[in-house]
């Protein structure tokens, strides 16, 4: 798979996880590509943790254009059925289980559903922003990321970086596989036919259980 094809491929597969009417929070980067791949029958609503529901692309002509940013601080717009609220309300919505899914990238995930994506001690200290609340509060946590970091394992037995949250990840989607986190560890549900199951396992530190109904990613 060409490097440029990886992210759209992952985003396209993640899009199939969303259901009509879902309220979804998207992390920065790859997750923001997901809505473009939704089936036309599926309409989702985006939550922006800085204080609104109904996140859409910026409309420079809108009367309030200069007053709306997304969670990355970039210009954004709001849908007709959208509404603004304060940050305490925003996180009441998030922690309260009113967000159906959050899709985010990660530095590491492990077989216990732990996720580490907010800090590399001594190197990168950006802060967790809303990520810790989102992975704890969203009904479903979908990690969308490249399977390895230039060959180095990212799907581990145990995360080595400081955790964002313990035991919260539900699904991992990469360019190689779709992996479900279960009480018994990681289950390989789908594989990209460009790779063998052996290759996928070799690119994964944690041991993968092969699902009975294993199927190709399409």
């Amino acid at each position: 798979m060409e490097k440029s094809e990886i992210k759209p491929f992952i985003a396209k597969r993640v899009a199939k996880e969303l259901r009509d009417g879902d309220v979804v929070n998207l992390g920065i980067g790859l997750p923001t590509m997901v809505p473009a791949f939704l089936d036309p029958s599926v309409s989702i609503t985006l939550q922006s943790e800085n204080g609104f529901i109904g996140l859409v692309d910026a409309d420079p002509e809108a009367e309030d254009a200069a007053y709306i940013v997304n969670a990355g601080g970039q210009p954004a717009g709001i849908a007709k059925d959208g509404m603004f609220f304060d940050s305490a309300t925003s996180f009441s919505i998030i922690r309260g289980g009113h967000v159906d899914a959050t899709i985010l990238g990660s530095l590491q995930v492990d077989e216990h559903g732990n996720i580490a994506n907010w800090i590399i001690p001594g190197k990168m200290v950006p802060g967790m922003g809303g990520a810790m609340d989102l992975v704890v509060g969203a009904k479903r946590v979908i990690v969308a990321m490249e399977h390895t970091q230039k060959g180095a394992h990212k799907i581990l037995k145990n995360c080595t970086l400081p955790l964002t949250a313990a035991g919260q990840v539900n699904l991992i989607v990469t360019e190689m596989a779709v992996i479900e986190v279960t009480a018994d560890g990681l289950v390989l549900k789908e594989y990209n036919p460009e790779f063998t199951v052996e290759e996928i396992q070799a690119a994964t530190e944690a041991v993968l259980t092969i699902a009975d109904d294993l199927k190709p990613m399409v």
Binding site: Y67, V69, F84, A88, G129, V136
Partner: protein, 220 residues
């Protein structure tokens, strides 16, 4: 009917004194009272503890006070878009407390609401929970988080009436309403000030009883 005193950004800046704890509303400077922050930079108070969602951008918003060397301690959820913040932290020039955004918002809300703190599942099993009490309620664990309070809160509204009732616009609301409730002195910067009653009691988002001073936004 008491009118809220209207002061200049320069006068507002002087209300912040050495060693104070200051809340600054806004999210990546969206909803940050930039005129008042400039006033604080000009007045030059040092050793400030600043509570703000983020470090703004280099020399903008909270980043302006950081650049100016006025902040001793920063309590924020995300500082990654201001490189200078990481540099100062790594050089040992800045004390940095990184707090999950929802926890930070709720800490400020509690600070203004007479609550002794709250129980949250956020941060369990992470470094955020280290040194904090963990309580079990109905079999589920929670981290105990304490309220935050400040000497001065600097907030930004869109429109205020002359009594200090405020309405916001777009996503600028963010941390501003909670911060308005959680400080001894509250300075609100707005784009316009209208007669009492013009906002309409049904549409006031921050009650005037919280607001001590109004500042009209100054052109950049």
């Amino acid at each position: 009917m008491a009118k809220t005193k209207v002061i200049t950004a320069e006068e507002a800046g002087k209300l912040v004194k050495d060693g104070m704890t200051v809340m600054i509303g806004g999210f990546m400077t969206n909803g940050t009272a930039e005129s008042v922050v400039k006033g604080v930079a000009a007045a030059g108070a040092k050793n400030l503890t600043v509570i703000c969602n983020d470090a703004g951008f280099p020399d903008v918003g909270c980043g302006r006070l950081l650049h100016n060397g006025q902040i001793k301690k920063l309590i924020a959820s995300h500082v990654g878009l201001n490189k200078e913040c990481g540099e100062k932290y790594n050089a040992g020039e800045l004390e940095l407390v990184l707090t999950p955004q929802g926890t930070l918002a709720e800490q400020v809300r509690c600070g203004g609401n007479g609550l002794g703190g709250f129980l949250t599942p956020t941060g369990l099993g992470t470094t955020v929970a280290e040194g904090k009490d963990i309580l079990t309620v109905d079999g589920k664990q929670y981290v105990v988080e304490k309220p935050l309070h400040a000497d001065v809160a600097i907030i930004q509204g869109f429109v205020a009436d002359e009594t200090g009732n405020i309405r916001y616009k777009g996503s600028t609301r963010n941390f501003n309403p909670m911060m308005a409730s959680a400080a001894d002195t509250v300075i609100a910067e707005v784009e316009k000030i209208v007669p009492a009653g013009e906002i309409g009691p049904d549409y006031v988002e921050t009650p005037h009883i919280y607001v001590d001073y109004l500042v009209l936004k100054e052109e950049a």
